[in-house]
Symmetry: C4
Subunit: 100 residues, 4 copies
């Protein structure tokens, strides 16, 4: 099924989501993440479903936020990764076809 | 391949599955999870395939249940996430088309 | 893209793969897995990409086998999960249509 | 959506990406990975989204590289795994059809 959502809307929604939940995660558990960047790294590691476990929530509200992050974030990141795949494949097709 | 399962049936099946396996996991290994909510958090972390490893089964029956959770749960959660993606993309399409 | 591989061939290939790599993993690192069942649990946790990290290879040959497990196993398990999703969705459609 | 990228271009891009980021990861955090092979194992474990957490970056630049690895690497590995699935399914179809 093709998703024809505008790329700019997707990029904006993705950035807004990531920045928002990273900040929330850092505010809820500053002692877990130590820096805002570590919180961002945790959020992206979660959204990609890699989940090393080097950072993980220890409080009730931290776990509720984490559940929210993967239920909504996995779909969002897979849309973005899908767009990247399409763009790379498109670039190769055009180059093969001599249009670049 | 489009799955035209009714949304309500999917939501009901998803909830029933999650509540059931979370309760089983908690009953099998109360010392691992400590609270029912932690068991629910473990189940959703498993179904999303994030798998931090902050909670993981230590007994034979706990591991058998865990295998059951991801073999049946991953498909279930990906159906639900797919519905959420479709709904979000649909919402954007309609707004672009001026129907909202 | 629809994969029309016969279900029995898929089930047989899946079982043969899982039993074979579980046995290899156990033979290569018996001190990591302790029992053959733990090795099976590790293999399925890897193929589902959950990867808790409660068991992970510590030797060179164990890591080479692990890389083999996910490069070939992820596709295999996702085919099996896809079949399960199709079967469940089909069951619901037929029941809705009054054929069951 | 079918991706008709040439298999050789995909294989070359995949190998170049994996060798490059494995080397970068090893150079940035030699004390984390100890050997170049462990760095390669970490990169493939990340790209497959298994993410055991037995190796994970501890420095700022290591984490930035890791984010880069999964944002670009997940799509790349899923393309490769998709090609393997197609090839296996194709092989079975041809054998069934008596062409092999
Ligand atoms: K994972
Ligand atoms: K993991």
């Amino acid at each position: 099924k093709l998703l024809k959502m505008k790329n700019t809307a997707l990029a904006f929604g993705f950035l807004a989501f990531v920045l928002m939940v990273s900040t929330f995660a850092y505010l809820i558990e500053p002692e877990t993440f130590e820096t805002w960047f570590n919180s961002l790294y945790f959020v992206l590691t979660t959204m990609s479903t890699v989940g090393y476990g080097d950072y993980s929530p220890s409080t009730f509200s931290g776990k509720v936020l984490t559940i929210f992050i993967y239920v909504f974030g996995i779909g969002l990141l897979s849309l973005v990764i899908g767009k990247i795949i399409d763009a790379v494949a498109d670039f190769h097709r055009r180059r093969e076809a001599g249009q670049l």
